[in-house]
């Protein structure tokens, strides 16, 4: 019954040839070609600026660090845990996402079940051992710098802020903006209006109308919907998260920028080097490490009083060299 497929003399030779192939696929190639596999789970669409910022950073990492990146967006609260779990099961090295609110607990539950996978989610709470890191948009520093501009420029001594909802990450920015204004103008008062959600441009527009009626002459647009009304009333404004100058070039003085790339790069490199530790990644979203910045002033570079720009530059320098810390205040801002 024995059937010879190959002449017996050739068999040892073939086996010998196969050895380097197995060795290669098992070890040599693995180190060079196995990219870090990153999955992202987002609760909103990638058009939402907060999620968009994370997504853009991951795309940049795909380009520059050669990671393998997969993402899923608009995952409902009910599906969140299942989707995160599926990625963990599929052997991704690093799972990131927006989490917060309804996603917070499911993300932590899954992380606890997969100690060998690295997790990093947006959160206002702390990291969890051994594998759950947290990040957030710590852009209170540029918000403080915008406050310096607002406090210097206001003629009514009333500055405005139109924000989403009073949670820590929003309060932090609004309060830093106010502190910045107070640092140059102790008389200044702030109007704050919450629109009650991430996307409600019509409500933000109406909130802007109300703030202008109440005397505000420069407004921090924490959310979309402010600029159109502001420009009709010749009121200056600030953008948030992304450089929003192009939306209303004549009135958007500058924007507080968030850049997630330093965070993603740090995560990918530490996962790749097997050095991942769970931690609060907030430093990577702050100015010193390039995670936050103030957008250019564009034509306002020419029109703003030079001493205002000098004050901003000076404060920025002392933030960057670590000699000045912008206060982190997360309580609900008091409207005067």
């Amino acid at each position: 019954m024995k059937r010879k497929y190959l002449p017996s003399r050739l068999r040892p030779a073939l086996a010998f040839l196969a050895i380097p192939f197995f060795l290669g696929s098992g070890s040599l190639l693995a180190e060079e070609e196995d990219p870090v596999r990153v999955a992202a789970v987002y609760q909103t669409a990638i058009e939402e600026p907060w999620v968009g910022t994370i997504h853009q950073a991951a795309l940049q990492a795909e380009e520059e660090l050669g990671i393998e990146y997969e993402f899923v967006e608009q995952v409902s609260a009910a599906d969140f845990e299942r989707v995160v779990r599926e990625y963990a099961n599929r052997g991704f090295d690093l799972i990131i996402g927006d989490a917060f609110l309804a996603g917070e607990e499911p993300a932590r539950r899954v992380a606890a079940d997969y100690p060998e996978v690295a997790f990093a989610f947006g959160s206002e709470f702390g990291p969890a051992e051994p594998n759950f890191s947290v990040f957030d948009n710590w852009i209170h520093e540029p918000a403080y710098l915008m406050g310096i501009v607002a406090g210097s420029l206001t003629e009514t001594d009333v500055i405005g802020a139109v924000a989403a909802i009073p949670i820590n990450e929003v309060n932090r920015l609004v309060n830093a903006y106010y502190e910045g204004a107070l640092s140059v103008n102790p008389e200044v008062e702030m109007e704050v209006t919450y629109i009650g959600g991430w996307f409600n441009p019509a409500a933000a527009a109406e909130a802007t109308e109300a703030q202008i009626e109440a005397g505000a002459d420069i407004i921090f647009a924490e959310r979309f919907g402010v600029f159109e009304v502001a420009s009709q009333n010749d009121v200056l404004a600030f953008g948030n998260m992304t450089d929003q100058h192009s939306l209303a070039p004549e009135i958007v003085v500058t924007s507080a920028l968030w850049n997630m790339y330093p965070t993603i790069e740090y995560l990918v490199r530490s996962v790749d080097a097997d050095l991942f530790v769970s931690q609060d990644l907030k430093d990577w979203s702050m100015m010193a490490k390039g995670g936050a910045d103030l957008a250019p002033f564009y034509q306002f570079e020419e029109t703003l009083p030079p001493e205002v720009i000098a004050k901003v530059e000076e404060t920025k320098e002392s933030i960057l060299d670590g000699t000045f810390r912008v206060p982190i205040i997360e309580t609900d801002p008091q409207t005067d």
Binding site: G52, Q56, T193, G197, P201, A202, E206, A210, E228, S246
Partner: protein
């Protein structure tokens, strides 16, 4: 608080009330006409989203705001035609069909928007409608600047309310619509095409919902974002019940909602030590309370939710 209720405050509040009521009035009128003919259109929210998106993209590509409004109306008509096929011709459940259309249209709107503009970090914008100041009238103290310095679409919305009321109660065609919604068999007996009437009412209603959505992206704002409609369709739906299926009463409901919404944004800035969440809740809370009070004596169109099949006659 004394310096709070100044004339500038009142002018601002009244103006905001009209602006915030505008999209709700368009959608409410659209829903009212559909329901008067016997079809509950729960596709209202999705139809508004589609109107907002199509209107925006049309204006973005053509530069014409009026074309944008027309395209928003057209998109609303198409979706309502689908609703008519499902509920009028196939006789499917109106609740399920309508909710299905809302889910479908919301997803499709986002999908088409991405096909057209991708996912830029900063959304594209258009030059929106500017407010039209009516000479003489706008110089009346207090109410002048509030009532007569508005968007063209806002004037149109308030003009449409008496027109729709006149149509429904003073014209033969209006009588036909109401009869189809109350007693389709009787209408059929006298030679009215029940299905065609319902289809036309749905489409006219869809056009109005589409314009209501387009108002948000072409006048009240200059960009399209997911969630831009933000439940205004559902509020409009409630206003139809609040107004007991009468356009003028429903308009009063929409104005009340606009007033409370405008007020809450202003009260947040006051010294009142009340959490902002409460103010956000107030318009919706008032709507629920009003519904409870009104719906006890509601006169629902008798044939609402009932598909009309000729063979059921005998």
């Amino acid at each position: 608080m004394d310096d709070f209720f100044t004339s500038a405050f009142l002018t601002g509040l009244i103006a905001a009330t009209l602006r915030m009521a505008t999209p709700i009035i368009f959608a409410m009128l659209g829903e009212l006409i559909s329901e008067r003919a016997g079809v509950l259109n729960l596709g209202i929210e999705g139809t508004m989203v589609m109107g907002a998106m199509v209107g925006f993209l049309t204006t973005l590509t053509t530069g014409s705001l009026l074309l944008g409004v027309a395209a928003g109306a057209g998109a609303g008509m198409l979706l309502s035609l689908l609703m008519a096929v499902l509920t009028v011709y196939l006789g499917l459940n109106q609740h399920v069909s309508g909710l299905g259309i809302t889910l479908f249209a919301t997803g499709l709107a986002m999908f088409l928007y991405r096909l057209a503009v991708g996912s830029p970090i900063v959304p594209p914008t258009i030059d929106p409608f500017t407010r039209i100041e009516i000479p003489v009238l706008s110089s009346i103290p207090l109410i002048g600047p509030a009532l007569f310095r508005q968007y063209g679409l806002t004037y149109l919305a308030f003009l449409l309310v008496p027109l729709v009321a006149f149509f429904l109660y003073r014209t033969r065609a209006g009588l036909v619509v109401r009869t189809v919604g109350e007693n389709p068999l009787a209408a059929d007996t006298v030679g009215v095409d029940v299905r065609l009437t319902r289809t036309l009412c749905l489409m006219a209603g869809g056009a109005l919902m589409g314009i209501g959505g387009a108002f948000l992206t072409l006048a009240h704002q200059n960009m399209f974002l997911i969630d831009v409609v933000g439940g205004r369709g559902w509020v409009a739906l409630a206003m139809v019940i609040f107004g007991n299926w009468h356009p003028v009463k429903a308009m009063i409901g929409a104005l009340l909602f606009g007033l409370l919404d405008g007020l809450q944004l202003r009260l947040q800035g006051s010294d009142l030590a009340i959490p902002f969440d409460f103010f956000l809740m107030v318009p919706y809370l008032m709507t629920i309370i009003a519904l409870v009070l009104v719906s006890r004596r509601a006169q629902v169109p008798a044939a609402l939710l009932k598909p009309y099949r000729r063979e059921d006659r005998g």
